[in-house]
Symmetry: C2
Subunit: 181 residues, 2 copies
Amino acid sequence: MENEALTAVTLESKLLLKARVFEVHEKLIKLPSGSQVTRQMVAHPGAAVILPLDSEERVVMVRQYRFSAEKALLELPAGTLEIGEEPLICAKRELEEEVKCSARDWQRLGILFPAPGFCNEVQHCFMARDLEPRAAEGDEDELIEVERLSVAQVEEAIRSGELIDGKSVACLFKARLGGYI
Amino acid sequence: MENEALTAVTLESKLLLKARVFEVHEKLIKLPSGSQVTRQMVAHPGAAVILPLDSEERVVMVRQYRFSAEKALLELPAGTLEIGEEPLICAKRELEEEVKCSARDWQRLGILFPAPGFCNEVQHCFMARDLEPRAAEGDEDELIEVERLSVAQVEEAIRSGELIDGKSVACLFKARLGGYI
C-alpha cells in the first residue's frame, strides 16, 4: 500500500550519540512537497515480548523496577535483541532469565512499534505455552519479581491502572484477538 | 505498593543531548544491593492519545508517514505535550489538527508507558465522542490521511498486522475493557 503523498526520503543520516541500548541519529528528510526537514531519531535494536500462559491459564508476569518511570511496573517478560538476533531466540532466553521457565509451544503474535514518533524499535510478540521450570541465571542488574495473574486479574489490572506498560497491554489485546486468552 | 527489593535511587543525572522532541539523560543509579550502575535514558515531555468514535461507531484513525519506521502507519490520533501542558488540552488540539474534529464528550482511559525500558514518556489516553467537523490548520510537516474504520475492521487490522502502532493497540484494549467499543 505505497502512497506517494505519505512517502518521504531520507537524504542523510548521522550518528549523534551512542548509548548502552540505543543510539541517536539525525536525519535529513525530503518531504513529498520537496521541502527538507531535520529530525532526530532513537535507533534501537528491537525487542522480544513474551506472553507466557501456565497450565492453570494464568499469565506469568514480572514486576520490574524501571529507572525511566522511577518505580516498579507490572509487565510481560521482554528483552532487547542482540544485534542480528532472531527474535524467537531472544524470547526463549528472556523467558528463562526473567521467569525461570522454558516453553514447548511458541506462537507468533506479530510485531508492534512502541514509539514510532521518535524511535525505530520493533517489538516481536510471542505466546509461550506448555511451560516447564528451568534453572537460569538472571541479569543481576535487573530488579524483578515474578507474579502469576488470571486473565480476569490482568484485565482488572489494566482497568485499574496497575498495568500501564504499553507493550504488555498491546500484546495482551493481540493475544485476545488471536483467541489465545 | 512500595517494595524495597524493587527500588533503586538516582544519585546523579546529566544532560547528554537535546533533540527536537526529546533529550537524552545519563543517570548514576544505586541498586538495593548497594552497587551503582550508569544508564542512559530518553526524556520525553509525554503525549496525548485519542480514540475518536463517530456517530456510526467508527474509529477515526490516521495514516501517517513515520521517519523512524520509514513507512506510513495506521494509528490513533496523538501528539506530544507542550512543556507543562494539561493532557486534555493537547488531546483536543491534536484531534482538531489531525482529523479536523472537535468532541463534546471526553473520557479518560488512563495512562501508558510506551517504552519504559529506556524512555520516561507517559501517554495519556482519551475517548472522544459526539464529534463535529472543525476547520483547523494541520502541521505542515506531518503527512497524514484520515481513515474511518468499524470496530470489526480495527480488530481485523490488528490481527492482520496492518495496525502495528503499540499505543493504538493498547489504547483500543483499554477502551474495550472500559466498555466503550
